[in-house]
């Protein structure tokens, strides 16, 4: 990915010139990490109903992409959606409230982890059907186009969604109609408990290209590389030049969901290697320090994030459940 190498270099310079946006990215990534660790803790301490799919390890993808978006750009997300939601700007407390089924949650506790959405920032929601939002994101792009705005739509999905025919139907129309949609494939190597190599024939990049959609592989652990690729794709969309496809190679540090603790389908060595050498947050911290950012700032951010997350959990734990009468509300608008 030599090209991305060059791009990263350019970004690194930009970073040296003005580290502020990257400090913001650092804060977001760190927020996601701490948020997810908290979620894991809530599950293990039996304070959270159901399960959750943690995004820890993949932070650079959501943050690198969302940095290229405006608040009014659209986003669709997956069962592993906390990171996308936070990266688009959602607040920690209302997210925790949603995960705990509280009325203060983004969906009044009715959606939960797998359906978390943030309407104020055009996050159209997480989706518990693998690949289920390919049409929705493409339709949001269609809508932006029809309404004459320059909004774009980002469709996040895991590489497992490459198994769903819907994605190809949607990409075909996005390409035919030059819709401003960016398909972001988060390749974390596993569909649940099965290696993607056992489920995916041919070359990943060839899939979108077969529909005339430019596609690009990106190091999903390097937020600079992700952002550079995303910015290009977003500009292309805003220009009306049509859809793009990004394949971000990444890794989930936790199991498929919080209950997946033995993880027999992958080795501890593989996990250690990714955690130790490919942690997107450490990598960004490295860039920032190289750029001469004062380590104290990173520490301060870390403390602020931890406080925010702690406050968020406390808020959610104390927040009230929805009133029973809510059960039959919002079935119909």
């Amino acid at each position: 990915m030599e090209e991305d190498g060059r791009v990263t270099e350019a970004m690194a310079e930009a970073l040296r010139a003005d580290p502020e946006p990257w400090l913001a990215a650092y804060r977001r990534m760190l927020t996601i990490r701490h948020f997810e660790e908290q979620v894991d803790d809530l599950y293990r301490s039996a304070r959270m109903p159901g399960l959750a799919h943690l995004y820890a390890g993949e932070e650079a993808v959501a943050v690198g992409v969302c940095m290229a978006l405006r608040d009014d750009d659209y986003l669709t997300s997956t069962h592993r959606g906390h990171g996308h939601c936070l990266a688009k700007g959602a607040s920690v407390d209302r997210m925790f409230a949603e995960l705990l089924g509280k009325e203060a949650g983004y969906c009044r506790g009715k959606g939960g982890s797998m359906h978390i959405a943030d309407q104020e920032r055009n996050n159209l929601g997480a989706n518990a059907i693998v690949g289920g939002s390919a049409g929705i994101a493409t339709g949001a792009a269609f809508s932006a186009r029809r309404r004459g705005t320059d909004q774009v739509a980002v469709c996040f999905f895991g590489e497992g969604a490459l198994g769903q025919g819907l994605l190809y139907e949607a990409m075909n129309m996005a390409s035919l109609w030059r819709l401003p949609v960016i398909y972001v494939c988060e390749n974390n190597l596993y569909n649940e408990y099965t290696s993607y190599r056992e489920t995916t024939a041919g070359e990943l990049t060839a899939r979108p290209r077969a529909f005339g959609i430019p596609s690009r592989e990106v190091d999903g652990q390097d937020v600079l590389a992700v952002h550079a690729a995303a910015r290009e794709a977003v500009e292309r969309g805003r220009r009306g030049d049509g859809p793009s496809f990004l394949i971000c190679h990444t890794y989930r540090f936790y199991g498929h969901h919080v209950g997946d603790v033995d993880r027999a389908y992958r080795t501890r060595e593989e996990e250690r290697a990714w955690r130790e050498q490919r942690d997107p947050i450490r990598l960004l911290a490295g860039h920032l320090l190289e750029a001469g950012v004062d380590p104290a700032r990173l520490e301060r951010i870390q403390e602020e994030v931890m406080t925010e997350v702690r406050r968020g959990v406390d808020f959610a734990l104390e927040a009230p459940y929805p009133d029973p009468s809510e059960v039959s509300q919002h079935v119909y608008a």
Partner: protein
């Protein structure tokens, strides 16, 4: 019966024309409305119902799609969630099998799952009805499936008047609505006022008043029921024909009231009888009128077989006027 009196400015048009009028009026009224589906533009749909629509509104608002029902229903949903009002065309109701996920797991649940913050004003137009000699994969009436799903509304127009009024209401509704058209009745004529009107959902229509027996009939079966009522009248049996018009919401009150009045009820629907519409309608009526009923509600639905191609067989599988007359005579002790 709520079809217009022969008032000034009422003409006879076909069901197909009524549907095109409804779409044209809504496309004119609201720039966010658009139509999308296979061969809806130049070809004006496989049933030639939308002929000419693209000439007035252009290919930006009357859009031909690839043969990707799930894909364009999903795109319609995304558009609906972001400020547009799509009318998605699913050529044959049998193809609903391909869009169930987008319709049921996505469209129907978006509003609820988001705590009321997202909306999906999506209309899916599709067809039902057999005897077109189209065989097992192009003849089903699958409206029971979507009626079973909370979050969806379901309309079943039986006349040109109802078709126009219900489709306009569907387009203006903020929820996903599936509207089924009887593919065999596109040429059926009926009175439709010149002027603007809509028909509220959840209001049944008494297509013919009567005293002795209630025939609750949907969509394609309303004509059969009216034909049966004619025949029964000649035999001295006064049949009331009630058309629910929408299954969700359902006007339980009107159904039950008629049942209490006549004390004898037949429910007719072209969908499969088992686990289908007739079961729900019969149960609702029985629950509401049990102590007034002379006999159990008689259900008449399609035979529990895939629809055969051979005309001599196909005609046996769907309910008709004769079967309704039979049932009515029996209920009224006329044999």
């Amino acid at each position: 019966m709520s079809t217009p009196s022969a008032a000034v400015g009422t003409r006879e048009i076909t069901l197909g024309q009524a549907i095109k009028e409804a779409l044209a009026e809504e496309l004119r009224r609201d720039p966010t409305v658009f139509v999308m589906g296979e061969d809806v533009a130049e070809a004006g749909t496989a049933f030639k119902v939308l002929t000419g629509l693209v000439d007035e509104f252009g290919p930006e608002r009357v859009i031909d799609t690839p043969i990707s029902e799930a894909g364009f229903t999903g795109i319609g949903l995304g558009a609906a969630m972001t400020g547009l009002r799509p009318v998605v065309d699913i050529m044959f109701g049998d193809f609903l099998t391909l869009v169930m996920d987008q319709l049921v797991n996505q469209a129907a649940k978006v509003h609820y799952m988001s705590g009321g913050k997202l909306k999906a004003p999506l209309v899916v137009r599709t067809t039902l009805g057999a005897t077109r000699r189209s065989a097992a994969q192009h003849s089903q009436s699958l409206h029971a499936w979507v009626s079973h799903v909370p979050g969806l509304k379901v309309a079943l127009p039986s006349t040109p008047y109802d078709a126009k009024g219900l489709l306009k209401t569907a387009i203006r509704d903020d929820n996903p609505v599936v509207i089924f058209e009887d593919k065999m009745n596109y040429q059926q004529r009926g009175p439709v006022p010149e002027g603007e009107y809509t028909i509220p959902f959840g209001v049944a229509d008494i297509k013919r008043p009567g005293e002795d027996v209630t025939i609750v009939a949907t969509s394609s079966m309303v004509l059969a029921a009216l034909e049966a009522a004619e025949q029964l009248a000649r035999e001295g049996i006064s049949a009331e024909v009630v058309d629910p018009r929408t299954t969700v919401p359902l006007d339980e009150e009107t159904l039950v009231r008629s049942a209490i009045k006549t004390s004898r009820v037949i429910v007719v629907d072209e969908g499969y009888e088992r686990y289908g519409l007739t079961a729900e309608l019969a149960s609702v009526i029985t629950a509401g009128a049990f102590y007034h009923l002379d006999a159990p509600v008689k259900r008449i639905g399609a035979m529990h077989v895939p629809i055969p191609f051979s005309p001599v067989l196909e005609d046996l599988t769907v309910p008709n006027a004769a079967a309704i007359v039979e049932a009515a005579r029996e209920l009224c002790g006329r044999r």
